[in-house]
């Protein structure tokens, strides 16, 4: 049985700062199995990037242990570096004077590929990420999206067992971000066992890509689970949005039914001029209560024009866990940085 892709025990990381030290990670424990697409979700300053830096041997922990495929991040740095790679977003990195091919080939040499194998690998990846037309273009002339595709290609040169992605779509437009996400997913699916650790503060990105997510804030992991598991934590009842042609007796008719927690007319949803439809939010103890509601409406002669179940988002999960939204957390982090 292979070791865990990531095994973190009691990791603590404190940065020296004035007027007081900053605790970036506070006794974090984390297990990620080979083959997982694992996400670290949290606002700026939550500690996500610090954890990636430790796991990629760029930074030492203040306390605790961390292993990547069984290799210790402090003692086995060379071994870890041969089986992993990393790509960070939101930065204009690259040797501008080199062409895309030259830069990527240079890294094949750093990763120990023989010259001919290196060029073949470079050309394969350039084609895979869609940079064929730019292959002999200087890095300095690439757009942000193209440069990030090149960085992804660099991150895949050594065919890593585990790929660390630190906000890879940060600063990209919608189309470029989608393209990059597709490339990442295709690469992972191509070989079972490939593992990805993604940090992001884009909720939808984490929801779309990750098998499991850890929600991080102030250096601590607040919850871990699949996106659905996390959402179920905050969805203790079933919530429906209901549109009717009319409702005799108002919402009180429904509230009296067993299993109905609450029913309220949705603000602004009613056509005030004609009152031809009624839109309401209905909170039920569980989905099974919906049958009774539909039966009761039929008895009153109301016609159901629309019915949609409301799903909670990861933002709802974050608010539930932290007590504030992402935007507020980012603003708080920016305030501290300033």
């Amino acid at each position: 049985m292979p070791p865990l892709a990531i095994e973190v025990r009691g990791i603590r990381r404190v940065y020296s700062a004035k007027p007081a030290p900053v605790v970036a990670l506070d006794r974090v424990d984390l297990h990620v199995a080979p083959g997982e697409f694992f996400g670290l979700l949290g606002p700026n300053g939550a500690g996500k990037t610090t954890l990636i830096k430790i796991l990629t041997t760029l930074l030492l922990p203040s306390a605790g242990t961390a292993r990547v495929f069984g290799f210790d991040v402090e003692r086995d740095t060379k071994k870890i570096r041969r089986i992993m790679n990393m790509v960070a977003g939101g930065e204009q990195s690259g040797y501008g004077i080199l062409t895309v091919r030259e830069q990527l080939w240079m890294f094949t040499q750093f990763y120990g590929l023989a010259g001919g194998d290196g060029w073949r690998r470079v050309d394969e990846l350039i084609e895979a990420v869609g940079l064929t037309e730019q292959r002999i273009q200087r890095v300095s002339t690439l757009s942000t999206g193209q440069r990030q595709k090149m960085n992804l290609a660099r991150g895949l040169l050594n065919d890593p067992w585990i790929l660390f992605l630190d906000e890879p779509t940060l600063g990209l437009d919608v189309s470029a971000a989608r393209s990059l996400r597709e490339l990442i997913v295709d690469w992972k699916r191509a070989v079972p066992g490939r593992t990805i650790l993604l940090t992001t503060h884009y909720m939808a990105e984490a929801d779309e890509l990750c098998d499991r997510i850890a929600i991080v804030d102030h250096g601590r992991i607040l919850a871990i689970g699949s996106p659905d598991e996390l959402k179920r934590r905050v969805q203790r009842e079933s919530i429906f949005r209901l549109e009717l042609d009319h409702l005799d007796g108002g919402v009180a008719t429904l509230v009296r039914l067993p299993g109905v927690v609450s029913a309220s007319e949705a603000a602004g949803a009613i056509d005030a001029a004609t009152r031809q439809t009624v839109v309401m939010n209905l909170v039920l103890e569980d989905d099974g209560v919906l049958g009774q509601v539909v039966g009761a409406l039929a008895r009153t002669g109301s016609e159901i024009l629309g019915l949609r179940k409301s799903e909670p988002t990861l933002e709802d999960v974050f608010v539930e866990l932290v007590g504030r939204g992402f935007a507020e957390s980012d603003a708080e982090a920016a305030g501290k940085a300033g």
């Binding site: 292979p2 865990l4 892709a5 940065y15 020296s16 506070d26 006794r27 424990d29 297990h31 990620v32 199995a33 080979p34 083959g35 997982e36 610090t50 830096k53 990629t56 041997t57 760029l58 930074l59 030492l60 495929f69 290799f71 086995d76 060379k78 071994k79 870890i80 570096r81 041969r82 089986i83 990393m86 930065e91 204009q92 990195s93 690259g94 040797y95 501008g96 004077i97 080199l98 240079m106 890294f107 040499q109 750093f110 990763y111 120990g112 067992w161 070989v191 079972p192 066992g193 593992t195 499991r212 601590r220 992991i221 607040l222 919850a223 871990i224 689970g225 699949s226 598991e229 866990l321």
Partner: protein, 316 residues
């Protein structure tokens, strides 16, 4: 609310060949060194702007030599002409020294501040020290071209008496290689320093080289300096390197180490060191410089990993 540990991880079907985590020893070293030299050459020489390359690499040392020769002529008159080889060789070699010392440090600064690639190079399995030395050697190569052209200008334009047949080639090759090693060692020391420093780092290597310029006997003999400064000069491998190159190219010409009333003469009982003494002194001081540089670099590397400096740009 803090949640430790995990929910159930997904099992993986893949098998991992842990041989991948092992390196290929000397082959990895050679491959890394070769590609680092190539990268350094492409970045430092910057052939896209030949004029800039020419000015930096050739015109600067040639101009320095010309200025010094003219000063010598004005002050010393015809009797100063005997010192022309001394001045030309010193000026040529010093531009080479600056290139070497700055090369490794600038590699750190450029990769961190300008290209933002330092962290990617650092977390690759290549040996970081090898990458840096390779980059530095490329810069030394550029400096070497400038030094050779400066000596040629000295011979052709300034009439420096140079006879290929009288060159002590064994001494030249030995001293040159030992000196190259020492320059890279001093460069590594500066690289260790600039890993830790911030905004002003770009000027540190040249400032440090400028300080060494005074004590290394590049353009005037150590004997004219106060005794304490002479001792510092004698402990510097660059002083012995320059003296050795001078002795190899112009045997019996004016030397920079000793002289009447010098610390060297007082300590060893003769005016100037012979070729063997120069080689031995260069080996000893070079070895000390190398050990010191590697120690400083290792400590700096560890501290940079503790403080998270490898990907921290400072806006310089």
């Amino acid at each position: 609310m803090a949640v430790s540990a995990t929910s159930a991880p997904v099992p993986a079907p893949a098998r991992f060949d842990f041989a991948k985590a092992e390196g290929n020893g000397i082959r990895d070293f050679l491959r890394t060194f070769a590609v680092a030299v190539r990268l350094g050459w492409q970045l430092e020489a910057n052939w896209t702007d030949p004029l800039l390359f020419f000015i930096y690499s050739v015109a600067k040392p040639v101009s320095s030599a010309l200025i010094l020769v003219v000063m010598l002529e004005v002050i010393g008159g015809p009797s100063g002409r005997a010192f022309r080889p001394f001045v030309v060789v010193g000026s040529a070699l010093w531009s080479f020294v600056v290139s070497g010392i700055a090369g490794l440090a600038f590699s750190i600064l450029e990769d961190r501040e300008r290209f933002r690639m330092l962290k990617y190079v650092y977390v690759s399995p290549s040996d970081f020290l090898t990458v840096l030395v390779g980059r530095g050697v490329a810069r030394v190569g550029v400096g070497l071209a400038g030094a050779a052209i400066t000596v040629a200008v000295g011979v052709v334009v300034l009439g420096v008496p140079f006879d290929l047949g009288s060159v002590n080639w064994p001494l030249f090759v030995t001293v040159f290689l030992l000196g190259l090693w020492s320059i890279v060692a001093v460069g590594l020391l500066m690289a260790g320093v600039v890993i830790q420093t911030r905004q002003e780092s770009w000027s540190y290597p040249e400032a440090f080289a400028g300080a060494l310029f005074l004590v290394a006997g590049a353009v005037f003999p150590l004997a004219v300096l106060p005794a304490l400064v002479q001792v510092i000069g004698l402990l510097t491998p660059l002083s012995w390197w320059i003296a050795g190159i001078r002795e190899a190219l112009f045997p019996g010409g004016p030397g920079s180490i000793g002289g009447a009333g010098s610390v060297f003469a007082g300590a060893f009982g003769h005016a100037q060191p012979g070729p063997l003494e120069i080689v031995l002194a260069l080996m000893a001081t070079g070895a000390i410089a190398t050990l010191g540089a590697v120690a400083v670099f290792r400590v700096s590397d560890r501290r940079a990993k503790q403080a998270g400096l490898y990907d921290r740009t400072t806006g310089s």
